[in-house]
Symmetry: C2
Subunit: 105 residues, 2 copies
């Protein structure tokens, strides 16, 4: 599974998108803190953060006894570019097909 795939999978989950919102809002936060803002357990949060980390959408660092997470906008920006490219490729395809159809009739 390449990175774009991982990003898409990561973003497909409502809770994970909420987590990203919270992180973007706060700049940095621990799993325990985040758990207080959402209707799920800390453990669930941790799992989600792991998925987000695999997708490169968040990074973490240890600060004493807690682990702080933050967003990584570059990855999201990259994913956006990838999707954009894909869209352009489709458009080109469709344009070509349309053109051929018109010529051939």
């Amino acid at each position: 599974m390449n990175l774009l795939d991982a990003v898409l999978v990561a973003l497909a989950e409502p809770t994970r998108r909420q987590l990203l919102d919270l992180l973007a809002e706060r700049g940095e936060a621990s799993a325990s803190t985040l758990a207080q803002a959402l209707p799920v357990t800390r453990q669930a949060i941790v799992k989600h953060l792991a998925v987000l980390d695999d997708a490169g959408l968040v990074s973490s660092r240890r600060a004493g006894r807690e682990v702080r997470y933050r967003t990584r906008p570059e990855r999201l920006a990259q994913a956006a570019r990838d999707l954009s490219e894909l869209a352009t490729a489709w458009e080109t395809r469709l344009a070509t097909i349309k053109r051929l159809a018109e010529e051939g009739d």
Copy 2:
């Protein structure tokens, strides 16, 4: 669930991404035809196409006894723009936080 969410969910599935590839490649295809190119049943394909349709990533039209599907690049392009916006918003947040931290120290 708004449209971007639906798009993300739709794209999170490998088989659906393959379907989109095939459609982009062929310009137009029916569920039965697509099923021949993938290791799953026509029914599975139909379900996936329904999800893609809900997300606005494909459109369909009846042609005699078959239903032909095609990609809709605008939606994907829109999704790409939305993600890009989100990334920018995060970047702005992080920049602000960083600035405040420097000023306040």
